[in-house]
């Protein structure tokens, strides 16, 4: 069984390396667009669980995804053991911040608490969360190195900044999140960051500069690999995750989902790239298939709206006002300059007398976005557009009733074009000209 797993693993490795190594090259300057680096083979870690990882302070680290190499060598395995890091990671507080100089190889990096809201606790990796005397409350200015675990409670957020700031990295830990910082160092000119997320959500942004960044967030069943990216989000809870890149995000996010056998060994890995504005969940569907599950739920509180909000809502739903023809200056609240437009053939169109600035109220309602009528109910019973028309009519007074041409509004002579008619070149009539009405009968249809 183990031999079969090993063979399967090797086959997957060769296939992945061959497929991803074609056409990719690492970018060397920040000005060049970020290109994808071949993904390193997935090693068998004996079960990618948070508990296993957090107890490896002195044992060599079996990484799930290897650090990215500048040379693009897909088979290189250069995972540095954690025992080169200090066994007691520094947890200093209130010390002066380091200057933003690029870190030398092997020099440790720290996350500094730039801002804190609520309560967050920190302890060395390996400390059980129920051993509360060993947990310390986090304060602004604290420095967090590799080998610490964080617990952010409800109604709390923590914003961390990487120091030395090369590459510039900011990370936000959202409420009710538990994670550990597994690795944080500079190796061969690459800033390596490994975060293990037990539950909760992380948002991060990394600006690629002269220093490359190898940023991985690992959860028990999935891994997020950054590809020159800013403001990506990784949320994980009990085997379910969501990785997304903000709508203005840069670069790519690679989502890797693992499949385990009964022994807890990784037997398969599925990968998908996420570009800006997209997200992927544990179902690993394509971005376009996820769109149908991404929806905004509007909450309209009509009682709590202010006057300005109501007016804005009215605007967005249509005012049941027909603007003067061929005139886009929609200043209908009092502009004296609004007149009728110009005919298509160059002649002057007959103008309608403006009402308080030029708007002509009609009871036509929304232009395709109204609620419409309910069958069996009289017009206007539930018709919001009709109610708006009546409201506007009451605002604008008697004049529009005479011009609306609808029954019950005073009416106009039929030989005068109605103001709510759409004017077309073939449909133009002069005042007093009778309208030609076509009547169809069976005989004409046969023709």
């Amino acid at each position: 069984m183990k031999t079969r797993n090993l063979i399967t693993q090797l086959c997957l490795t060769v296939l992945c390396a061959a497929g991803l190594s074609i056409g990719f090259a690492p970018s060397t300057t920040a000005a060049e667009p970020e290109k994808m680096v071949p993904m390193q083979p997935v090693n068998d870690t004996g079960g990618a669980t948070l508990e296993n990882r957090t107890n490896t302070n002195t044992t060599p680290r079996g990484t799930v995804a290897q650090p990215m190499q500048r040379s693009g060598n897909a088979n290189a395995t250069n995972a540095q053991p954690l025992n080169t890091m200090p066994s007691n990671p520094p947890l200093a507080s209130g010390q002066p911040m380091a200057t933003s100089q690029p870190a030398a190889d092997g020099e440790p990096q720290y996350f500094v608490v730039e801002r804190l809201n609520g309560i967050a606790k920190v302890a060395p990796v390996g400390v059980d969360v129920f051993e509360e005397d060993k947990w310390k409350e986090l304060k602004q200015g604290d420095k967090l190195g590799a080998g610490v675990q964080l617990l952010v409670t409800g109604q709390s957020q923590v914003k961390l900044v990487l120091e030395p700031a090369s590459p510039p990295t900011v990370m936000l830990i959202e409420a009710m999140t538990q994670l550990s910082i597994e690795d944080l160092a500079m190796r061969e000119g690459t800033s390596t960051t490994r975060i293990a997320l037990a539950s909760g959500a992380i948002r991060a942004g990394v600006i690629e500069s002269t220093t490359r960044s190898d940023f991985l967030i690992e959860a028990p069943t999935a891994t997020l690999s950054k590809k020159g990216t800013d403001i990506f989000r990784f949320e994980y809870q009990n085997g379910r995750f969501r990785m997304s890149l903000s709508s203005q995000g840069r670069g790519l996010v690679q989502a890797i989902k693992y499949k385990f056998n009964n022994s807890g060994n990784i037997v398969d890995a599925k990968s998908r790239f996420v570009t800006r504005g997209q997200f992927v969940t544990q179902q690993m569907m394509r971005a376009i298939d996820n769109v149908k599950y991404d929806r905004d739920i509007q909450v309209l509180d009509f009682v709590g709206l202010t006057q300005e909000e109501r007016l804005n809502l009215l605007f967005n739903n249509g005012l049941a006002i027909l603007l003067p023809f061929a005139d886009n200056s929609a200043n209908f609240l009092g502009s004296p300059f609004l007149t009728g437009g110009i005919n298509v053939d160059g002649g002057q169109r007959p103008t309608l007398p403006p009402i308080d600035g030029g708007a002509i109220a009609t009871p036509d309602g929304d232009f395709g976005v109204g609620q419409g009528l309910l069958p069996g109910l009289p017009h206007g019973f539930f018709n919001a557009s009709a109610k708006r028309s009546r409201m506007i009519q009451s605002l604008f007074g008697q004049q529009h009733r005479e011009l609306s041409g609808r029954k019950g509004f005073g009416g106009i002579q039929r030989d005068t074009p109605r103001p709510n008619q759409i004017r077309r070149p073939g449909n133009m009539r002069k005042a007093g000209q009778k309208r030609t009405v076509r009547r169809f009968n069976k005989a004409s249809r046969r023709r």
Partner: protein, 205 residues
Amino acid sequence: MRSPSFLIFGMLLATAGLTGCSAPRPSETALSGVDPDTLSDSAFQVYLNRVPLVTVGEAYRAMLILADGKDGRDSFEARRQELESRDIVRSAWDLQPDNVIDTASVSYMVCKICEMPGGINQVLFGSWGLGDRRSAMRELMFRGMIDDSFEYEYVTGSGLFALMRNADAYMKKKGLYESDVDLSDETDRDNTGELIVPNASGENG
């Protein structure tokens, strides 16, 4: 004519269905070696994430943590009175502290804390108690905060933890508690769209 065994089976099934949600939590579904009453609020949240099933007492404490950020009470009665005074819990439910809590009751509490008005059913009927919990559960399902489930389904610890996190995010977005810590396109990008990475000293870099 149905056999007596069938009738007895049907009666037992009906009884189980009616009383299923009010059963105490089985010992094998509790977290061994941990007494939640001795835990701090932060440790209690991690405990919730691990416990297989959640009792009414634990859910009441979780809801107070969700609403206020902290518990501040040391007994079930004090929590119950606080929640009932805010109308987050209804006294008519008569939930017992050691029983397992159901999805609908938790949904109602979350809706109240997050000030979700709900739909027309919630307004017309739920306001006086008819289907209030079910309407609240449907509201949360509509918003994608919980998975599709039944009203009487037991609440798991991780499920409640995930719901609390979603509710917390909703409350932050709605402004129900103040927080100036954020990382988003709206707050952390300059005019050219570049990410603003602050210095650790607090100045923007």
